[in-house]
Structure formats: structure tokens, C-alpha cells
Subunit: 341 residues, 2 copies
């Protein structure tokens, strides 16, 4: 028996600076009814990702903001519990933009079937989902790494960074991560197999020196998830012909005024730096191809991943606030309900 009501989290107010829990509000509303061609999906794993901070902002952006009172947007893995669509049966596992809620309606166009034989279904939010596609497409379509080059990845233990570094190692590169704290750095080296990982929480000057020691041949590709002063230091060690893959800038997402940074145009000219921003959907036409490659690598144990799973939709706001502080360790998700529920 399906419940008549379900819980969802809406945006109560637009955060100023760091979000607080009262910027979110839990509501209980009737479970929606699927119409013809639609399915009803029960949310199992909700993905929490840094880009969501941008959706809480009322700015022009590449995607519209969440309205005040609107359900927080987000990708999730769920299970079909009622189907009026020929493409899906009850019990199927799917992935789509279900939002921060227990139930959602969808269509064949808005949902993607998840192969539960390949890997745990939560990976459809992680290494085999948006973060994995981001890592693969950003690294290979923009970073263009070549054998023997040095690749530096910030937020190296995060959902995207952990994949970027492992792929760059397989591509024959010297790979150096940047992460916050000794525990994450050890994981990145010992579990993921990066050549080195620098703790950015050290003082600035030792950080630069540690980075230089870890990159004796300079830096050819910088896959940037964090921006800010960490990136300033990396950029000054870029080689001629270097590429900056501008994926995200989590250090800046809670600030309402742009920070100031040193201008380095002559450096960018002299080093012929290419810097390019991207959104993962720019490469949507390649996802099926990439997911096959990544799926095989994961299935055969050639790509590792770490997930950080928090229980209960009610804990999503707190977990999301922690994500922006770097408190998560691996791909952050919320277990909304279990398949057995």
C-alpha cells in the first residue's frame, strides 16, 4: 500500500552567505498521481551536489533558480511504484531529477533505467552518474591529458575529483590531488592510487612548496573544482600549453560578492594557457558511450569510488550545508527510503 502523503523539502528563504537549516522547510503533501504515460517513483538515494547552491540564488544562470516555496531540485535514484508508461514496470530502478522528496512522477523522457547488475544502484548518482560523466568528459574533452603529463585535481576525494584522478592515472599521467585534511589525502593516495595529495589546510607557503615538490615537472592539466586561493597557487605552477578545466568553484559558492584575485594576463599569454568552463550536459550526446566505458571499469574493479551516505530526507539540509564546508568524504547522498519500504 502506498502512503497517501509524503514529505518534501522546499526552499524557505534564499541564503545570505552560508545556508542555514531554516532556509529549508519540510512539508507533508499528498503523493501525486501519475497520469497517462507517467510513472510514480519512490526516491531511494538523493544526490547532494555543490551546484545546488547556485539554484538557491535568484541570479541569471545556466539553469533557472528554485522558487521560494518550490521543491529543491536534485538528481536521485528511485524505484517505480506505479506505472502508466509502457517503458517501465513496477520495481524498475531509475535515475532522474526527482528532487528533494519521497515521491515524484516522471516519464520515459525524464528517467533513465539503472542497471542494478552492474554496480550498486547508488552509483547512478555518482561514478556512473552526473559526477562520473563530469569527470570523464571534462578531463578528456577539455583537459586533453597526454602520457607523461602532470594532472592536478582539486577536491580530489570528492565525487568528481576521485574519478578524474583515477582516469588520469589510467591515461598515463602523473596525478596529484588536493584535498582537505590528512584522512582524505591518505585515502586519495592509498586507496585511489594518486601519486601524491596535498593538504590545502596547511599554511599557504608550505602548500605551494608541497605542490611544487609533488609536481617536479610542473603542471599540464588543472581540473578545478574549488577556485579561490588554492587555484591561484596551482595556476602559478602551470607549464606552457597547460589546460585549466573549470568545473566548479565551491570555495566561492557561499559568497555574494566576488572575491578579488591577482590578475595574471601576461602569465596566461606567455604560458598559452587554455581555460574553459563547462557544464556536464554540454557533452550529453556522449553519455551513453562514456557510461559503457565507465560501467566496465567499475564492474571490473578498475575504478574505485567512495560514497558518503546520510540516512533520512530530514537530514538533507544539514548534509548539504556540510558539503559546502567540505565535511563530506566521497560522493554525498541521502538515503530517502529503502527498496523494501
Amino acid at each position: 500500500m502506498l502512503p497517501t502523503h509524503h514529505r518534501r523539502i522546499v526552499l524557505a528563504s534564499r541564503p545570505v552567505g552560508e545556508p542555514v537549516e531554516s532556509d529549508f522547510e519540510m512539508e507533508e503533501v499528498p503523493v501525486p498521481e501519475p497520469g497517462p504515460g507517467q510513472v510514480l517513483v519512490r526516491g531511494l538515494y538523493l544526490s547532494l551536489d555543490p551546484y545546488m547552491r547556485g539554484r538557491m540564488r535568484d541570479d541569471a544562470s545556466y539553469a533557472p533558480p528554485v522558487e521560494i516555496g518550490g521543491v529543491m531540485t536534485g538528481g536521485a535514484v528511485g524505484q517505480i511504484v506505479a506505472s502508466l508508461a509502457s517503458e517501465f514496470s513496477v520495481g524498475d530502478i531509475v535515475e532522474g531529477r526527482l528532487g528533494w522528496q519521497e515521491f515524484a512522477v516522471g516519464t520515459a523522457a525524464s528517467l533513465r533505467r539503472v542497471d542494478r547488475e552492474l554496480a550498486p544502484i547508488s552509483t547512478a548518482n555518482g561514478i556512473l552518474g552526473m559526477p562520473g560523466m563530469t569527470a570523464y568528459c571534462g578531463l578528456f574533452e577539455i583537459g586533453n591529458p597526454k602520457v607523461g603529463e602532470t594532472v592536478v585535481v582539486s577536491a580530489a576525494s570528492g565525487a568528481v575529483g576521485q574519478v578524474v584522478g583515477q582516469l588520469a592515472k589510467r591515461a598515463g599521467c602523473h596525478v596529484v590531488g588536493i584535498a582537505g585534511g590528512a584522512r582524505k589525502c591518505s585515502f586519495v593516495i592509498d586507496e585511489l592510487g594518486f601519486d601524491a595529495c596535498i593538504d590545502y589546510k596547511m599554511d599557504a607557503s608550505p602548500f605551494e612548496q608541497a605542490l611544487a615538490r609533488a609536481c617536479p615537472n610542473g603542471i599540464d592539466v588543472y581540473f578545478d573544482n574549488v577556485g579561490g586561493v588554492v587555484s591561484d597557487a596551482v595556476i602559478l605552477q602551470l607549464n606552457v600549453w597547460a589546460r585549466i578545466v573549470l568545473c566548479g568553484a565551491i570555495s566561492q559558492y557561499n559568497s555574494d560578492e566576488p572575491e578579488m584575485a591577482p590578475r595574471l594576463p601576461a602569465f596566461f599569454v606567455g604560458q598559452r594557457v587554455i581555460m574553459r568552463g563547462f557544464i556536464v550536459s554540454d557533452f550529453a550526446a556522449k553519455f551513453d558511450h562514456v557510461r559503457k566505458i565507465m560501467g566496465a571499469l567499475v564492474r571490473d574493479g578498475n575504478l574505485k569510488y567512495r560514497e558518503d551516505i546520510v540516512d533520512g530526507l530530514e537530514n538533507a539540509p544539514r548534509a548539504f550545508i556540510g558539503l559546502l564546508r567540505g565535511e563530506n568524504f566521497g560522493k554525498l547522498q541521502v538515503r530517502v527510503s529503502s527498496e523494501d519500504d
Copy 2:
């Protein structure tokens, strides 16, 4: 009869901030003798270019600095006055890195023959030389302009900018220049045929508004010769998928400490901006091809150019200092001597 001695300008001291005339020193030294395979060239037109400020600095760069006491480097057009090389005869006009001096020795490898039938020989320092190659290769190899797009060029009346804008017009773009002062702006519109030209010497806020009015469909390609606050304003009006061609940053060349600028990583990501720095020699393999195209356009009157020619080697330092202040109007050159001398 050749003189026994000639004049040359050496670097007397490294400038701090804006160069002053005493940073340069005029010397009189014996005219060098060409050895086997060499020629002696009399300098006719010395090219003065913003990049030379970088050579006065003792920094790591894409090119080595001029030593204290060393002859200032620079491209020039000259005439062969003695030849021990089978490739050249006395009287031939050539272009090469002759430096700030009246005579220089060269070889077939270091000199390029100039076709005096095509256009006045001084154009080998300008529209048919390094600045013209910079404009063509930067615009088409990096800017990738498409019919109907909007191209903005800073330093629009300068040696590179004037060519970029005319080429972009021929490529079917809406072209907006940025220049300093009403006289340059009128020239850019009335003589070169840009659609608009904004005077950056206006107050900041009207500048942004004037730029927005001149670019009603936003900006797709920004060919940047100046950097600094002008570029900050342009960048905020870039469309999604925009390209920044980072050619130079003359506003920064006299400062020893980097200026601070607002960080805009989320903007760069959301707009998928590609920013790429380059040095004209990156595209050296294409120069013969490009020079044929540009030569035909100039010969047929389809590309205009303006040169700013100063008489006498002794005036090179003052003219160069003025170049960094934007006081020149068109491609700056020094007439070192006449063909008849």
C-alpha cells in the same frame, strides 16, 4: 660608402613602473662586418611593440630578457647593403629581428624577403608582419568567429586591433571596437568600418552601458589587447559559448605587482567561456599561407591600415614610452634611415 660607425640603443636600466628615457642609452659602435653566409642590413623602419616592455624585465618569460647593456630587441624592415649570402643581393628589402640600431648582420634563416610591389615596405612591420599575423591567427585559430556573432576588440585602432576588426567584419560579424578618445573611435568607425567603437576613457558606468548598447546581442568573441578594468567590463557581457582571445594586456605592462580583479569562476563555468593565451609564433607554420591572403586583401584595398611613423632612432625611447600610454595612433614605427641614405 658605408659609415664606419653606427648608432644603437641599449637597455641602461630596468624600468620600475613606467619606463623613462634614461632607462635607454644611445651608443656609437663600429658597424659590424658580415661573415661568410651573412649580410649587412641597414635598418629602415624599426617596429615598436608593447611586448618589448616584457623584454626589459628580468623575469622568466616565453622569451629571454634584454641584458643590461644589450641592444633592445625588435623587428625591423631593412635593406641589404653588403651580401656574402647567395640568397640576397645588395638593395633587397628584408624583415627580421634587427634590433634598435642602424645596422645589423643577418642570415637567410633570420631574414625574410619583403615584396615591395605588394604594399609600402613598412607594412612588413604591420599589417603584413607580426601584428597582422597576430590578428589573423588569433581571431581565426582561437576566436573562431561565426557569421552573425558579435566580436569586440580592445585597442581597436592599434596595430593588431585595426586588423582584427576589419577581418571580423569580412567574416560576417557585428564588430565593436574599444579605443581611447573620440579621434581614434571616429577613425575606427569611419575609416575601418567597425559597427561601433566605445571610448574607454569615459566613466566606468557609461562605458558599460555604451558597450551594452553597441552589442545588443551580447558578445561572442573578445579579442583582448589591454586587460584590466576594460576587460572586466567586457567579460561580464559575454554570451554563453564565448571565446576570449588573450593577445596582450598593455594596461598591466608597467606594473610590477599584479592588480586585483574580481573572481568570476561561476560565471566562466555557466557561460562555458574559453579563454586562451597565445604568442603569434605559435602559428608560425601558417604565416606563408596567411601572408598570401592578407597581401591580396591589402593590395586590392580591402584591408586598410594606419601607421604612426616617428623619425629618427633617437626618438625611439620616447615613442615607446608613449606607446605604453596609448599615445600612438596606428602601428608605431621609427624611420631609422631612408633607402637613399
